[in-house]
Symmetry: C2
Subunit: 156 residues, 2 copies
DNA sequence: GCATCGTTTTAGAATGAGTCTAAAACATAA
DNA sequence: TTATGTTTTAGACTCATTCTAAAACGATGC
């Protein structure tokens, strides 16, 4: 297991990030780390998500795996994605109507969806928002979601 | 049509907000303002959303209206909510799995969902986030979504 | 008042993501 | 080898949403 670092500079201050995208870990190590029993099927799902950072839906994961010759059922893909999400090994994203998308990158980051082509990109945060959260509320986490045009679609 | 102002102070700077929640407007004025032809059914849907800031689903709007004696079909509620969203008169929210919720408040604000009771609250922004948006991307708007515990649920 | 034309509403069928069920497969321990 | 618990599976089911095609409605012109 290799760990890569990424760094950038804002207003003269250097930030060093342990970028999860760059942590090379096997799917088995990943399941162990999250205390999830590994099975052939779970390894396949995790590997798919490690290799495809396209924020796929359950059905896209299923299609991708079966197209590549894997023998796994639709129900197992749904089950596995739910187990992984419940154990905190995946992030479930509600972006479009009526479908859940999955992201294996767990560090705080935003998502950008191109209005035209529908592709979803990861965007790093440089400064968190702040809120007038009324007395008595306790926030656990904040999601950031942007919509706009990606470089391919902005001109056409 | 009366317009109310709201103001608050951060770091010694006064901000004055024309708070949409406080703009008293009839449903007919609201549809006219968004260039949407009014009908009895559309007025009913807009009035429901003006009176219920609970971010209801289409089915909740339908139930609420029919329970109150309105004669409107399920399909019309779905159609109307789509028309209003397409014309920019409503905001569609993807918060939970598989349901779209609707918000008539259009000014930039965040949403807070209680993990325990599921209620959704509006939260005002005091500072926007910033992002490392790669070269060539153009963002149109940003959504903020928080999860945590509301005052009623935090103790129990 | 009546015919025409475009828009809106409607009931019910269809779609499709996701869940449920109950049985089979598999793994682990005794 | 048996017993026990977990995981996988096919197919049935659910339920939000969309689709379809007909009916209702509203505005306009005559």
């Amino acid at each position: 297991m290799q760990i890569f670092l990424e760094y950038f500079c804002i207003y003269g201050i250097f930030f060093v990030i342990l970028h999860p995208k760059l942590i090379k870990m096997t799917s088995k190590e990943y399941l162990n780390q999250h205390h999830i029993q590994w099975t052939q099927e779970r390894l396949q799902v995790v590997e798919y998500l490690m290799e495809h950072h396209t924020h796929p839906t359950a059905i896209e994961v299923y299609q991708g795996l079966t197209d590549a010759g894997a023998d796994i059922s639709r129900a197992t893909v749904f089950n596995t994605l739910n187990v992984l999400t419940d154990k905190g090994a995946l992030r479930a994203l509600q972006i479009e109507d009526g479908v859940t998308r999955y992201d294996i990158l767990l560090h705080p980051h935003a998502h950008f969806r191109c209005i035209k082509c529908g592709a979803i990109y990861d965007v790093e945060l440089t400064r968190k928002a702040s809120f007038r959260l009324p007395e008595g509320f306790q926030s656990c986490h904040t999601d950031y979601f942007m919509e706009g045009y990606c470089p391919t679609c902005i001109d056409s």
